[in-house]
Structure formats: C-alpha cells, structure tokens
C-alpha cells in the first residue's frame, strides 16, 4: 500500500495533468452512452485530479521543490533537453486553487446545464481548461507554458460562447480570443528571444544564465504586457467583464482560475526568471539606487491602483448583476497586484539603502497578496454561482427586473450574503483576513495606497448592498412570481465555496502558515528554483 502511494506521489506531477486530459478525451465517448453516467464520470475525474493535487501539494510542502522529467529517468541536466515540471510552493498553491474551482463548477453544472444541448462538449472543455490551468502553473518550461496557455484560452473562449444565441456571449468570446491569442503570440516572441540568446527553454536554465541587456529588457516588457493582458489588469481589463458575464456561471468560475494562472505567470517571470537581476543597480543618485525591482514594482503599483479604481467605478455604474460582479473581479485583481507590486518595490533593495523593517513590510504585503488570490477565487466564484442561480430561476440578470427573491430563494440569499461580506472585506470572512494584511503592509509602504484600497473596499460594499437591496429585498416583481429554489446540486456547489470562505475567515493563521507561507518563500527564493534543476538539489 505504501509502495503504491509513494509511486503515485512520485508521478503526481505528470498524473495531475494526464488525468483530466484523459478524462477529457474519454468524455465524448462516455457521453454517447448515457448522460448521467457522463456526469458521474466527469465529477469522478475532477475528484481524482483533486486527490493527486492534494498528495502533490502535501509532498511539496513537506519535502520542498519537486521536479519531474518527461521521458527519461536519468535526464541530462547539462544541457537540459527534456521538458521538466517543477513544482515549488507557489505552483502547489496555484494547483490547489486550480482543482477546487472545477470540482465546484462540475457539481453545479449538473443542475445548471441539465436543459442545454451539447453537454458532452461542455464537460470536455471544462476538463481541458482544468488540465490547461494545471499545466500552466506546474510547468518549468517556457514553451510548455505557452502551449498550456493556448489550451486554456481556446477552451475558455469556446465556453464563453456557449450560449450562441446571445449577442453578448459571442462578441465577448471573440474579444477574449483575440486578446488571448495576441497575448500568447507575444509570449512566443519572448520565448524566441530567450531561445536565440541562451539556447534554452527551461525556466531554471534561463533564470540561471539571464543578463539584463537590451534583448532581456524587451523580453521582460513583452512578457509582462502579454500576461497582464491575459490577467485583465488595466488598461487591458475590458474583455473581463464581457467574458465573465457572457459565459455560463460555472464556466466563469473556472475562467477565474485561468485569470489567476496568468497572474501566476507574471509572478513567475518577474520573481523567478528575472529574480537574479533585481538588484542590478541601473543608476544611483547618492543614497538612492534605481534597481529593476523598483521600476517594476512602481509600475505594477500604478497599474494596480488604476485597476482597482476603474473596476469599482464601473461596478457602481453597471446595472447588470453579472457585469457588476465582473467589474468587482477586476477590482479584486487590483488588490492582489497592489500587494505584490509594493512587495517587489520594497523587498528587493540593495543592502545599505534600506532598513530591515521595510523589507519586512514587503514580505507581509506579498503574504497578503498571495492569500488574496485564493480568497478572490472563492469570493468571486461564489458570487457568480449565486448570479447563475438567480439566472437559472428567473432567466434575468438585469437588476431592474429582479426583486424580492429572498422569500423564494432562502439558501441562495444566505450564500449571497456570505459572498457580499467576503468580497467587501468584512470580518468574519476570508476577504477581511487578506485585505487587512494588505492594508497594514501597504500603509507602511505608502499611506495613500492603503487609503485608496480601503475606499475601494467601502465602495464595493456599497455596490453589493445595492444589489442585495434591489434583487433580494423589496417587493416581488410580477414577471418572476413563480420562482423556485434552485436544484440541490447547485446548492451543494455554492455550499462548498461558502464553507471554504467561512473556514478561511475563521482560521486565517492556519491557512497562512500552511499554504501561503511556503508559496511566498518559494517566490522570494529564486536560487532554490534554479538549483532544483541544475544544482543536484
């Protein structure tokens, strides 16, 4: 028994991607036999993926970075010719997010998509999307990252257009695939530059030999531009509310994962690949040294503030339930990169020019930012599932046509309240835990940032209180008189997310020490990432 388990642990990086892929290839065949069997099969596949993710994450958090080479037991490492998966704390953290969301989405879809045609392809694409996200976050090879990026963007674009009879869905899907294919081509361009210079595709090898010449700067700019485009950071955030609101709700939940995976790509590029170059002093004015980390950090912070403000104001203006949550999702992404940007600009400063406390604040900001990633996935996911439930029951998403739902849909109302508290950062929910850390640490970096962040949170609260008031309270609207509570599977899916939200809110310390801290340490320690491949561990 122990033998089998250790074999599974050893091969978990490969199996965690192979299982959803295999399931996706098999789903159309199973779907020809029986619909119910197919649904059970898909849920089984997602749960199996979750199982592998758990044993992999457990292994990584106890024994450090795990590498897996495809195709050979004793691969040559000098030079690296084969594809490696390299799972460090950050990848493991992202893998956890990437397996929770599809499980919820698939359970929810059982009830939600019952009436639709083309369900086999729908489930196939959800599984492919899962595999793509997992591949993106686990891989240690640049080109492999590009391939999985394309898998996620193609499958999510196809699913955004699931309701082809709706104008909004189709045009959102087109916008989304244009943005993501241009982004992917930019990533490929940067990969070609790396390949031409270092004759390597492995991230650790590139990170080891990277300099900071003109071509490296171009590659950095291209990579950051491409991945921020895919992560919906302002000014390229416009596709996100469209795509999020156009897609069926369970699909949106998984697309949140793809957005976070692109954000992970930004972190991987900035922290790991260019990590060695952070402290090169480009120019110094007396005591003050300009380093790449400072420039990148300030740049990201500016984008973050822009993203938050745009997201919140557009959410205030909007009058559609799902679009509103979409804009709130944009604002939430702003919080994450605000924290990470301030971490980059303060933590990596050459010794002598800074105090130790500043670096500590940077570290804390990074903790908050990473913790907020998983919280954002859960909060926004829950809100979208609630919006999907409302749509399922009433066939409406416009707030003008909704009202008095709280009497008919008790459970959904409770879940909405939980999501509302979480997304606007009120205690006892998880959003409070991570946002508090972000406020505290960014206040030390620059008080203005913290004030903007708090104001945005308050406005988010206002936005969702408005939704609560107009959709769930108030008089019943005659057109939606005979509304019923949604099917049980949808309630279970929302319940899973709500339970996780409350758990994370009640025991933030537990989550931070067990999941977030390893991820943060992995990001800050790029030399470990390099030596796991090159240095014989």
């Amino acid at each position: 028994m122990n033998d089998i388990l250790s074999i599974l642990v050893n091969h978990s990086p490969a199996l965690i991607v192979a299982v959803p892929l295999f399931g996706a290839f098999l789903t159309p065949l199973v779907g020809m036999i029986n619909d119910k069997l197919r649904n059970v099969f898909v849920i089984f596949i997602t749960l199996l993926t979750g199982f592998f993710a758990v044993i992999l994450v457990n292994e990584v958090f106890t024994n450090g970075i795990k590498t897996y080479c495809f195709g050979a037991e004793n691969p040559s490492v000098n030079p690296v010719v084969r594809i490696f998966f390299e799972v460090d704390g950050m990848s493991a953290f992202m893998a956890l997010i990437a397996v929770i969301l599809p499980i919820v989405a698939v359970i929810y879809s059982w009830g939600f998509a019952k009436e639709e045609t083309g369900q086999s392809k729908y489930y196939t694409l959800i599984l492919l999307m899962t595999a793509g996200i997992l591949g993106m976050v686990l891989t240690g090879d640049m080109f492999n990252f590009f391939v999985f990026l394309e898998i996620t963007s193609i499958s999510s674009a196809a699913l955004v257009a699931f309701w082809t009879n709706k104008k909004n869905s189709v045009q959102a899907a087109f916008k989304y695939i244009v943005i993501s294919s241009i982004g992917a081509l930019m990533v490929l361009f940067a990969i070609a530059i790396f390949y031409g210079q270092y004759n390597a595709l492995n991230m650790a090898v590139i990170a080891n030999s990277i300099g900071f010449g003109f071509l490296d700067k171009i590659a950095l700019v291209v990579l950051i531009a491409a991945l921020t485009m895919k992560a919906a950071i302002a000014p390229m955030h416009m596709w996100l509310p469209d795509a999020y609101s156009g897609a069926p709700s369970p699909v949106t939940v998984v697309i949140v994962g793809t957005t976070l995976a692109s954000l992970y790509g930004v972190f991987r590029v900035v922290f790991t690949i260019y990590g060695k170059q952070f402290l090169t002093i480009l120019r110094s004015f007396g005591d003050f040294a300009v380093t790449p980390s400072l420039i990148i950090g300030v740049f990201i912070v500016v984008l973050a503030v822009l993203t938050m403000i745009i997201g919140v104001f557009m959410a205030l203006k909007s009058n559609n339930f799902k679009r509103m949550i979409g804009y709130a999702a944009v604002a939430e992404i702003g919080y994450m990169i605000l924290a990470v940007g301030s971490a980059i600009s303060t933590y990596f400063i050459p010794t002598g020019t800074t105090t130790v406390t500043m670096a500590e604040h940077g570290k804390m900001a990074l903790t908050g930012g990473i913790f907020h990633m998983i919280n954002d996935a859960l909060d926004i996911g829950l809100l979208f599932l609630v919006a999907g439930a409302v749509y399922y029951a009433t066939k409406e998403t416009s707030l003008n046509k909704l009202g008095g739902l709280s009497r008919k849909m008790k459970y959904t109302t409770v879940f909405f309240l939980i999501g509302l508290f979480a997304v606007s950062g009120l205690p006892p929910m998880n959003g409070f835990a991570s946002k508090l850390i972000i406020y505290q640490s960014t206040y030390q970096v620059n008080p203005v940032l913290a004030i903007v962040a708090i104001l945005c949170s308050i406005m988010l609260l206002a936005v969702f209180v408005k939704v609560f008031h107009s959709a769930f309270l108030g008089p019943e609207i005659s057109s939606i008189k005979n509304v019923k509570e949604v099917p049980r599977s949808m309630l279970i899916a929302m319940g899973i997310l709500a339970a996780l939200i409350i758990f994370f809110g009640l025991f933030p310390e537990f989550v931070i020490t067990n999941i977030v801290e390893p991820a943060k340490n992995a990001l800050l320690n790029s030399s470990e990432y390099i030596s796991a491949i090159l240095g014989g561990v």
Binding site: F143, V147, F174, I177, V178, I182, A192
Partner: protein
C-alpha cells in the same frame, strides 16, 4: 557595439509582425483583424525558424544524409507546434465571426457592441 552582421532575416520577421499589428490596430473589419493575427503568427514562426539556421548546414535528418553540419532541430519542432496551434485558434475565431455576423449583420468592429442591460 551593435553586431550588424546580416540582420536582414530578423528585419523581415519584424516587418511581418508589424504588418500584422497594423491590421489588428487600425483595421475595423473583423476578418481583417483575424488576418492580421495570422500574419503576426507567421512572423513569429519565421522568427523561430530563423533562429534555427546555421550556415552551410543540412536538414537534421540522417536518412541518406550527405553528412556535415546540421541546422538546429528544436526551433523546427517548436514551429510545428505553433503552426498547429495557429490553425486551431483560426478555426475558432472564424466560427465566432460567423455567429457575430448572424447577430449583427455586419463585420465592422465599431458597430459591434454588447448591450449594457
């Protein structure tokens, strides 16, 4: 010192990318935007293949090869992958365009807006 030895292939690559980018940024017809993306993709593929060339080399295939230096195989493999990915993206984009035309009766990007309801 900028190494100026024969950058013509790279300049051709940049030319292709810029032509594609021009179409994407300035054209309004959706089909033209898609054509632009395809041209950018060809540019990037050409970039990869260009990186794999070695002077006086033969194709990296041993079957009845005359012997001698071989050009680099990895960029060719990468290009192959990227071409197939390009086909896949193109197919999906075209099918979206078919649906967009059914809904809006136009392909002008400035007239295609989602409703804000």
């Amino acid at each position: 010192m900028i190494p100026l030895a024969n950058p013509v292939p790279y300049i051709a690559v940049i030319g292709l990318v810029l032509v594609g980018l021009f179409a994407v940024v300035f054209k309004r017809n959706l089909i033209k935007i898609v054509i632009g993306i395809t041209i950018i993709e060809s540019g990037v593929n050409l970039f990869l293949i260009t990186l794999g060339y070695r002077e006086n080399s033969i194709a990296p295939i041993y079957t009845s090869s005359p012997g001698g230096l071989m050009s680099l195989p990895v960029p060719q493999a990468l290009t192959l992958t990227s071409i197939v990915i390009g086909v896949a993206v193109l197919a999906l984009m075209i099918s979206f365009i078919v649906h967009i035309y059914r809904h809006y009766n136009t392909l002008d990007a400035s007239k295609i807006r989602g409703d804000e309801e």
